[in-house]
């Protein structure tokens, strides 16, 4: 009951926005070519669900995004562990990473297309390149912050390097790793859409792009709403996974 009551204000706010949107379009304050009524946008989305046309582009986008994000996360954690735990790797890699990091991932797209063509692997590479940074940076921090005391405990118990990594370093860095992975997932959604638009790969991004080109504004906004819903869903899913993995942490009030 309390939880339901807590949901009321945010729902009311979203409802108010929808109402403003409705009034603005219904009174023709904005041309329907640019902005359809919310009813039409939502109707178009519902129709695409009803006839099943949404699943293919949705599936393509999600698959591309999750694959790129997963590869980025694995590479980011591995590199982050190396840099965070060994000064040698830090000295060796950090200057190069500092150079690569500020490069906008979208600027990499032409290079990726040059090497990999307008392909799925091009898209996945670009997504991975862009979404590795948050997880890499927070992993470096997380592994670097493993308590000295725990390193001593590990030495006193005679744990091997691998045992130290799996039993102490990774769980210790896990809160930071997960926070980085969550930011990385948001980036991967952005890049999935951008690569689809640039390389005309099947997916929600391309559909939005094509809808705009042909002035099908209902479909355009249906695509945007779908992306928004996708983001909310993914974030919520990760939040649940995080709470489960980090249930040892004291509850924040």
């Amino acid at each position: 009951m309390k939880r339901l009551l807590n949901l009321l204000p945010p729902l009311a706010f979203a409802g108010a926005l929808l109402l403003i949107w409705h009034v603005a379009t219904d009174m023709r304050l904005v041309s329907p070519v640019f902005l359809p009524t919310p009813a039409r946008a939502l109707g178009d989305l519902a129709a695409r669900f009803a006839d099943g046309a949404i699943w293919e582009p949705l599936g393509a986008t999600v698959q591309r995004m999750v694959l790129g994000w997963f590869l980025a996360s694995m590479a980011g954690i591995a590199l982050g562990a190396a840099i965070g735990l060994t000064p040698l790797a830090r000295d060796l890699l950090e200057p190069t990473l500092e150079f690569l990091r500020p490069l906008p991932a979208s600027a990499i797209i032409p290079v990726a297309i040059l090497f990999l063509g307008l392909s799925e692997s091009m898209a996945v590479s670009v997504i991975a390149f862009g979404s590795i940074w948050p997880v890499l940076m927070s992993s470096i921090f997380g592994f670097g912050a493993v308590r000295v005391r725990l390193q001593e405990v590990s030495a006193l118990l005679g744990l091997s390097r691998t045992e130290f990594l799996t039993r102490i370093a990774i769980p210790s860095a896990m809160p930071d790793i997960l926070a980085g992975m969550r930011s990385g997932l948001a980036v991967s959604l952005i890049l999935a859409v951008v690569t689809e638009m640039q390389a005309s790969l099947p997916g929600l991004g391309r559909d939005i792009f094509l809808a705009q080109r042909s002035f099908r504004s209902g479909e355009l906004y249906a695509g945007l709403i779908m992306l928004g819903l996708l983001g909310v869903l993914i974030n919520h899913g990760l939040q649940i996974a995080e709470n489960r993995l980090l249930r040892w942490r004291p509850q924040r009030s």
């Binding site: 308590r147 005391r149 006193l156 118990l157 005679g158 040892w248």
Partner: protein, 268 residues
């Protein structure tokens, strides 16, 4: 309580084998630094409970870390069962003062104790049984599935002690283990520790800055002086065991030790 019965617990004195032996040990940090410890020599005999007390900055913790193998003496020789101490070993368990930092916050009480056994007891059922036994021994059975952040300081320190016991060490090195606890918990844990040490005849080196704690627990007390850390005096504690928070602390011999050592620590 007669003096004779005390010897049932006390180490067999000079006849017991030497567990740890320090010979003119000195520790200096950095090439040009001032020595932290200088010319420290003593033996710890098997089954002995040795207290080391001293003011802050006298190198007590450095001394204990050296015994654990976390750092090496700059000069002199530190031997454990006849061999030089060059690296940490499971045979020498250390109980840190900062229990919060020494436990894995993502593991339950049972999980933290199990950490020390995962290498030596690969069979899970066997390990679980051993963990349950140790957890029960430290009076933590009701909290076995709780995380460290859900426990009081005294309970967290019990977890750390249980983990060290599970190593079945040849010697327990304790670095002001009860320093951060309230007086009541402290006394309870002192008595539990003494009972454990007596039962297992575990050789123990106990560091503290609390004079009374040093006398109350120890068979012998080494007093360190500061700048540089060196041995000021060693006394044999002639108090009957088992000891009692009330009667032992009121014993004239306890008070005499206290007077004597208090003067030393004050530099008189």
């Amino acid at each position: 309580m007669t003096i004779a019965s005390t010897k049932a617990y006390a180490p067999s004195g000079a006849s017991a084998p030497v567990t740890v032996s320090l010979r003119h040990v000195g520790v200096t940090f950095g090439a040009m630094g001032r020595p932290v410890l200088e010319d420290i020599s003593f033996d710890v005999r098997e089954g002995e409970f040795l207290s080391i007390v001293g003011p802050s900055g006298c190198g007590k913790t450095t001394l204990l870390r050296m015994l654990a193998g976390l750092l090496r003496p700059t000069v002199g020789e530190a031997l454990f069962e006849g061999l030089p101490i060059i690296a940490p070993s499971r045979q020498r368990a250390i109980v840190f003062q900062d229990y919060t930092n020494a436990l894995l916050p993502w593991r339950t009480v049972a999980g933290n104790v199990a950490l020390a056994l995962e290498k030596t007891m690969p069979v899970k059922a066997q390990r679980d049984a051993r963990v349950a036994e140790l957890v029960a021994k430290m009076g933590l059975s009701h909290a076995a599935d709780r995380f460290p952040t859900q426990l009081s300081g005294g309970m967290q320190q019990r977890v750390q002690i249980a983990r060290c016991l599970s190593q079945e060490p040849r010697i327990m090195l304790m670095d002001e283990p009860f320093g951060a606890l309230d007086a009541m918990t402290r006394q309870t844990l002192q008595d539990e520790l003494m009972a454990l040490a007596a039962e297992r005849r575990t050789t123990t080196v106990f560091i503290t800055h609390d004079l009374e704690e040093a006398i109350y627990l120890g068979d012998r007390v080494i007093v360190l002086a500061a700048n540089p850390g060196r041995i000021a005096e060693t006394i044999e504690v002639e108090l009957p065991r088992p000891r009692n928070q009330l009667t032992t602390r009121e014993d004239p011999r306890f008070l005499a030790h206290r007077h004597h050592l208090f003067g030393l620590l004050q530099g008189h």
